[in-house]
């Protein structure tokens, strides 16, 4: 088989990271830019070249990394349809965001540091998606967590940023612990972590339709890891705080790529989940609930980035719901379109913030569509896409998820109903943001709003004309590119001839011997996929189609309702939202404060942990017990020595006396021993 040098794809960004990280301090911005863009750019070009020409699946085994007894892990890369999609999304969207960031971060300190971290992230993310075993995936998994921590806390002089970085890191650790347990279980029961071998062994096991078996536990542990990384209930709390990072970071890591790692992991492990319906159901429930709750919170947020953060959590919930009804290709489809439009939304929001010199509060925006025409139009595309405007990318992917939750054997009308309502909320809060930002009158203070508040401390050099200014070309171009992707990206999965699903079908229909056919492939493709073909009679296929169009119609209705409501409340009657909030004060207060989940975690987990650590672990065990033992031993030794010191009086006769006494003692002892014998 031809060697495609797949290792170049992840390693090139690492080279960029090393050069910029080690030497970047002395470079000019131009050199830093060239390195920061060049290596991920090469990586992207190489990724596309491989993607277009390589024979799939392709495995590239470099060397044995760890060997212990019968267990060994190879340093190897695997490229199949699933990792191919991820690789292209990561390199392409990542590269666009890199371009944007060179403009956005122009006036910030630590320019080289920022791009070094950003390239480091690309390296780990590509390791994660290209790994051919769970351990290498875990390395990437931890690595992106590290990069995320570094970048959230990039403005480390701000306390809130440093705290948000720590929060993200620690919350992720909880999930990683769970993921690690899943890996241990895999090693214990299957003796390997290589995907192909693990799944091959699992494929001989029966589905655990009743009770909780090994696969269910492994699946739940993996889900635990995924909830951490992908910000699902109960571990989603870190993502909104992660908005403290620079906006390109939010776009790249906390919207488009890293947070989707959990979805990728669940899809990658579909062999496990296919055989563990209980675990699947939990995935679907968590996904659905997260989608719904995060959407309700997004409705009440005022910070433009926080709306998007909760929207991300909510959309990730959609992906989990899709994965949870075994519609893996639908999950991956939404992952891809979401990467396009959510990255675009964040970048456009960043452009707005940039234009307003760091203002993030939507209540102080408004009427910006004339000042920021490019930003306005690209953001409009993204908003339409995420809200489910027909024929935009988000419409197809969300529709596929809704359809699958309705029809999949693992699905239920409840999931569908909640997700449909969430789609309405999504359209509502997205258009609320859109209207608040771009329509009506400008509500901020005119001219010098110079927030010492935010990242743009260096903004002063940036000549101000009026109150808002369009971003430079280097930021607008990525916006335009992503806007095109957001609009047309969904066409690969047009219902009826779902080429995206068909493309992924070889991955998701693998390892499915002995399973009910419907469980096998990503829902929509069930009719076409080879495994499902003989089971799906033509008649049901037609029924499916008409059902699909019905469901699609309802989705469009909810979209129109959401947009209409947003228009009515924020354009026609801008006085109404305040009144409604006033009438529902308790509810509004709870939702605006994110249901007090942070406070709840703080009171139930963090505070007891701090108290317990302080009073039990620190004061009692460490200070009193351990230190006490050590100190007391030292004191006792000192006291005894003080007594023995007196023997060394320097008096010759006393020494002689001791010698005589010792000799006498030896004699007595010998005589006594003699007698004892």
């Amino acid at each position: 088989m031809q060697n495609w040098h797949l290792w170049l794809v992840p390693l090139l960004p690492l080279v960029g990271c090393a050069i910029n990280g080690l030497l970047g301090r002395r470079f000019s911005h131009g050199v830093i830019k060239a390195i920061a863009l060049g290596f991920p750019g090469l990586s992207m070009v190489w990724a596309w070249y491989i993607a277009l020409s390589a024979q799939l699946p392709y495995i590239e085994d470099h060397f044995t990394w760890i060997r212990a007894g019968n267990f060994s892990v190879d340093f190897a890369f695997q490229l199949d349809q699933l990792s191919l999609v991820m690789m292209l999304v990561v390199t392409t969207v990542g590269f666009l965001i890199h371009i944007y960031a060179t403009g956005y971060m122009e006036h910030e300190g630590g320019y080289y540091r920022f791009f070094s971290y950003l390239n480091l992230f690309m390296f780990f993310m590509l390791m994660l998606v290209l790994a051919d075993n769970y351990l290498m995936m875990f390395v990437g998994w931890e690595g992106v967590g590290l990069a995320s921590y570094l970048l959230i806390g990039f403005f480390f002089l701000r306390d809130s940023a440093a705290a948000a970085g720590k929060k993200a890191f620690i919350v992720n650790r909880i999930g990683d612990f769970s993921f690690l347990i899943a890996l241990f279980l895999l090693i214990q029961h299957f003796g390997t972590l290589k995907y192909t071998e693990v799944f091959e062994k699992i494929s001989h096991l029966p589905a655990e339709t009743t009770g909780i078996g090994l696969l269910t536990i492994i699946g739940l542990c993996m889900l635990g890891g995924a909830t951490g990384k992908s910000a699902q209930i109960p571990l989603y709390v870190w993502l909104p705080d992660a908005m403290e990072g620079p906006t390109p970071v939010s776009a790249l890591i906390h919207a488009a790529t890293m947070v989707t790692a959990g979805v990728y992991m669940v899809c990658r492990s579909h062999a496990v989940f296919d055989r563990a319906p209980t675990a699947l159901m939990v995935v679907a429930i968590i996904g659905t609930l997260t989608a719904f709750f995060a959407a309700t919170i997004a409705v009440t947020q005022h910070d433009i980035k926080r709306v998007l953060a909760y929207s991300t959590v909510s959309q990730l919930g959609y992906m989990f719901a899709a994965a949870g009804v075994a519609a893996y290709s639908a999950a991956m489809f939404h992952l891809m379109t979401h990467a396009f439009f959510k990255a675009l939304l964040f970048l456009a929001a960043g452009s707005v913030i940039h234009g307003l010199s760091g203002e993030q509060d939507m209540r102080k925006m408004g009427g910006l569509r004339k000042d920021l025409p490019w930003t306005f139009w690209t953001m409009t595309m993204a908003t339409l896409a995420i809200s489910g405007m027909p024929f935009f990318s988000g419409f197809f992917s969300k529709d596929m998820i809704l359809f699958n939750t309705f029809t999949s054997p693992f699905g239920s009308k409840w999931f569908w109903g909640i997700l449909l309502f969430t789609a309405f909320l999504t359209a509502f809060y997205m258009f609320r943001q859109w209207f608040l930002t771009f329509f009506g009158e400008f509500r901020g203070k005119p001219a010098e709003v110079h927030g010492g508040h935010h990242e743009h401390q260096g903004q002063e050099k940036h000549g101000h004309h009026g109150h808002a200014h369009e971003s430079p070309m280097v930021m607008v171009l990525p916006l335009a590119a992503l806007a095109i992707l957001s609009v047309v990206g969904g066409l690969v999965g047009v219902p009826g001839h779902d080429s995206f699903g068909k493309f992924l079908a070889p991955v998701f229909s693998q390892y499915s011997e002995g399973l009910p056919a419907a469980a096998v492939s990503g829902g929509e493709t069930a009719a076409e996929a080879p495994a499902g073909a003989e089971h799906a009679a033509p008649a049901t296929h037609h029924e499916d189609e008409s059902l699909e169009y019905t469901l699609m119609g309802m989705a469009i209705c909810t979209f129109l309702l959401g947009v209409g409501l947003a228009w009515y409340l924020y354009v026609k009657r801008p006085d109404l939202p305040g009144k409604i909030a006033g009438n529902l004060r308790g509810l509004h207060h709870a939702v605006e404060n994110k249901y007090f989940v942070d406070e709840f975690y703080g009171a139930v987990i963090v505070q007891p942990l701090i108290k317990g650590s302080t009073f039990i672990l620190w004061k009692t065990i460490d200070a009193a017990l351990i230190d006490g033992t050590v100190n007391e031993t030292a004191h006792a030794a000192g006291d005894v020595s003080n007594q023995f010191r007196k023997m060394q009086s320097g008096n010759m006769r006393s020494y002689a006396g001791w010698v005589a006494l010792g000799a006498a003692a030896v004699i007595v002892f010998m005589v006594w021993m003699r007698g004892a014998r």
């Binding site: 320097g650 006769r653 002689a656 006396g657």
Partner: protein
Amino acid sequence: MVHVSYYLALSAILFSCGVLGFLIKRNIITIFMSIELMLNAVNLSFVAFASYWHALSGQVFVFFVMVVAAAEASVGLAIIIAVFRTRETLNPDRVNLLKL
């Protein structure tokens, strides 16, 4: 023939006298004599055992001890004289320049 135990008893008494003298006396010359007494008490037990076991090694050892004692006496007396010249005392407790 006197039994060997009598020699040993005498040797033990002499040795104890030497030890006591060493511990009690403050004059370095007397202490020195006590050491000689102890050495000779040991010599006595050596020759007693030598005759008891009809073995020569005990007597040979006595000669070694005597040689050592002579050497020790010469060196020791030389030190005493040197100390006396500088410190003008024979009390070893007064020779305490190196003590804290």
